[in-house]
């Protein structure tokens, strides 16, 4: 069943149409929600609710458009609302102390020389920590732009949000990141 057929089934009230969409978008959506909430369980909650809501509100979806960006935007918005509501947004809370360094080492490029390796590890850790210090909407803007690869127009689209607002939010997020990371010429 392709995406259009799945959506057609959903529009007819058949929840079975959700399965191929879940199979296609679930992991990416949980990853995006995790990057905003920084809590894997919360991210899964957000995405499961978003799928159920997508089923309930499928009439609002224009089948001429792609489901992915529409759905992923709703996931990111729901992630912002959830952490703003719950105030459970403690940076790095999912990764226990001690595991953090191990994880950063794991994701560093395994091939550079020892000095470069530690520079890279340190820089990545700085970036991750700086992302944690952004406000939820700023972090969401960074996730949408740099992880999901959405354009500014796509980000603004259907959020009842002016393109200028998205541009400003991205600009302030980048500015804050630059200050927090102090890239040092890299």
């Amino acid at each position: 069943m392709n995406e259009a057929q799945a959506i057609e089934r959903l529009k007819q009230g058949d929840i079975g149409g959700l399965e191929p969409l879940v199979n296609q978008y679930y992991v990416r959506a949980v990853r995006a929600a995790f990057l905003v909430t920084r809590d894997k369980s919360l991210a899964e909650d957000v995405v499961q609710n978003a799928f159920i809501r997508a089923y309930e509100r499928i009439d609002q979806f224009d089948p001429e458009r792609s489901f992915g960006p529409w759905f992923l935007r709703s996931v990111v918005n729901e992630a912002i609302n959830t952490i703003s509501r719950d105030r459970r947004n403690i940076s790095l809370e999912y990764i226990a102390p001690g595991q953090e360094e191990k994880l950063v080492e794991l994701i560093a490029d395994p091939h550079p020389g020892p000095d470069q390796f530690w520079d890279e590890v340190e820089l990545r850790q700085k970036v991750w920590e700086a992302l944690g210090q952004l406000s939820p909407p700023q972090r969401a803007a960074i996730v949408q732009r740099y992880y999901l690869g959405l354009s500014e127009t796509e980000m603004a689209d259907r959020e009842q949000c002016a393109p200028g607002t998205v541009k400003w939010r991205l600009h302030s997020a980048r500015q804050r990141l630059r200050t927090l990371i102090s890239f040092g010429g890299k």
Partner: protein, 97 residues
């Protein structure tokens, strides 16, 4: 922001997300469990309305009908509506046990 810095941010986001959230999550099973364990909440409804909605036979029927089992939904709806009718009819008594 320089291109290299943007690429670094993309790499960090991708790597962290991939490390923490595995590829083999079974989302469909999780969503089915969620649908079976509780009816999905409509966020726009207030909590009080939600409780009333769930208590009413019609609400329960609609809720189940929205998922799968129309016949069970119909029967449950009839049963709950009759029970609520009895409970709230002045002068009536329901003896349990």
């Amino acid at each position: 922001m320089k291109k290299a810095q943007e690429q670094l941010i993309t790499r960090v986001l991708t790597d962290y997300a991939t490390q923490v959230v595995p590829d083999d999550l079974d989302g469909w099973a999780a969503i089915q469990r969620r649908l079976q364990s509780r009816a999905p909440l409509a966020p726009a409804r207030s909590r009080r309305l939600e409780v009333g909605y769930r208590l009413s036979g019609a609400g329960a029927a609609l809720q189940m009908g929205r998922t799968w089992d129309w016949q069970r939904a119909y029967q449950l709806g009839l049963g709950l509506t009759a029970l609520l009718g009895l409970l709230f009819t002045p002068g009536s008594q329901v003896v349990l046990g």
